[in-house]
Subunit: 332 residues, 2 copies
């Protein structure tokens, strides 16, 4: 496949980093093995081999390459990041009682909740061993803090999702926990291991953070205005599942007393009736919250791109900039 | 309370280390807080403040004191160890679908499974931050490996518990994951942070490992021969819950064809009838497996005590030796 026929930036990155991505995949397969508990690789393989874009490990490799890194710790850190991601998916599926992920039955459905909880714990501990092998306390500090942000964000999401007092500040924290904290840690540790200076490391953090926020806001917006043939989800799933996301938070903030009562009934109490989704959409239209949410997503993508000014001019920098455009291009 | 009126060695240790234990408790309360997600301290407090003997953090403090440590990293590591322990309890209760722990309703029952899974993850990540603060890569390596052993042991227990092919080797691995890995990491990191030499660190590991194995074997034995007024459990709970523990594993190893079929039906397939527990007990009596299990527990306690020969002569060493006797004294 020649570069010219590939248009998506993450596919171009994946091609450019093909050798290292192969090393990451080999490391993942080696480290997810368990001599004694065959259930572990079974469950992990189900998820790891389902594919996904491997965006997070690619960000780590890309950040390290941007600074001409020539060791092999970036491969370990890329695998670390993917293990943490996989572990959170396993636990999320238990928490959300999901039945499907990436178009396949979830592990908690194929095996049981126990397996998802314990194999998730195992992958966390394996990721921990991998990062210790790099011998970098700074890397360990970054990943420890990212783990705490992720876990806190997950708890916050659980308690804030149906709480109508949730404002844009709380939403942003949930989004950081859910998505942006691992994106920013992925780019940051890539720079740290490659010896980038403090300003550059900060730029990589800012890029990953803004990219993650843009990505998640776009996802939440597509839930209300996406083409279900493309997104694989039905319009309004988040409404039906009583998840307060940005388009609704913005509508709640401007609601009249009657409209507020509507949100309390449908999201706060979960007493939904036929026609409620249509009325919710009409309130979002009334206050133009889908447009405002879209503008926020583009703003974060622009912020991600702007952060890259502080890192070296490099083909990878261009692709990372394109990636920021790409995550919101789904909204056009 | 004067020392002479206290007979239990962990109570004497607790009194001797009272100042540091108070510092550990303060640190635990500070670090389990979450500015944003109040559900986290609610769930954690329920478990942390239920008491328990705080045996693991005490082992870390004791090991550091044995080498005259005067810094404050041992307090951080003691809190680390207690956080890891609390996180595994939260996840265990989800996995076991437990309704009670330490005589109180479990968190998964009071809140829900989601809270137990996510707050457990949060505590793991907090423990990770705490250990990074010590700046010791060796400590991080020990705790990363202990975490992997714990998680692997938990998965193994889930799949091996009802598998009649489970032998004493597999049982020992499960016991290490369930109990001994955190005991040995607790004593080992205490020594490492205090600058003990390699032979002394090895001795501390061996002590914690053997103490943990003795403790767990004693627990499993008491399930079949304990006084339910003392243990708070009913005789044969493990049999009813189809958990293959040492007294049964030893009986299965010597079973006739008919007896093997009995174990396959009751433990392997879980088709239990009235009178089955009595018959199981009669098979354990026939092969004297309770006596053999008891001898194993005393053997591990003796091994723990013998390991202490390599560490400095000190009042704490005497108490740690007494503690090894104490964990099996319940079997007299």
């Amino acid at each position: 496949m020649s570069v010219s026929t590939i248009s998506k930036p993450h596919e171009r990155l994946s091609e450019m980093l093909a050798g290292e991505m192969a090393a990451v995949n080999t490391l993942i397969r080696t480290r997810m093995a368990s001599e004694h508990a065959p259930r572990i690789p079974e469950v992990t393989a189900h998820l790891v081999e389902a594919g996904g874009k491997r965006l997070r490990p690619m960000l780590t490799l890309a950040a390290a390459q941007l600074f001409g890194y020539s060791g092999d710790h970036h491969v370990k850190l890329a695998a670390t990041v993917e293990f943490i991601h996989t572990a959170t998916l396993l636990h999320d599926d238990v928490v959300d009682e999901s039945g499907q992920r990436r178009g396949r039955p979830t592990a908690n459905l194929l095996w049981d909740n126990k397996s998802s909880v314990l194999v998730g714990d195992y992958l966390f501990s394996r990721s921990f061993q991998l990062m210790v092998e790099t011998g970098s306390l700074r890397v360990l500090d970054i990943l420890a803090n990212a783990s705490a942000t992720i876990a806190e964000g997950e708890v916050l999401q659980m308690t804030a999702a149906t709480d109508l007092g949730t404002d844009e500040g709380v939403y942003l924290q949930v989004v950081r926990g859910k998505t942006a904290a691992l994106f920013s840690a992925a780019t940051e540790v890539g720079g740290v291991i490659a010896g980038a200076n403090d300003a550059q490391v900060k730029a990589l953090y800012d890029y990953g953070d803004a990219l993650g926020v843009a990505f998640q806001i776009a996802d939440d917006l597509l839930d209300y205005q996406g083409d279900s043939a493309v997104t694989g989800k039905n319009v309004g799933d988040d409404f039906r599942e009583r998840k307060l996301t940005l388009p609704v938070i913005k509508a709640v903030a401007q609601a009249t007393a009657d409209e507020h009562a509507f949100w309390v009934r449908t999201i706060g109490r979960g007493r939904q009736e036929e026609g409620d989704l249509d009325y919710a959409l009409s309130l979002m239209a009334k206050y133009r919250t889908l447009e405002a949410t879209r503008a926020d997503a583009f703003g974060w993508a622009a912020k991600a791109k702007a952060s890259l000014e502080a890192v070296p001019d490099h083909e990878i920098r261009t692709l990372l900039g394109d990636l920021a455009d790409y995550v919101v291009s789904r909204l056009n």
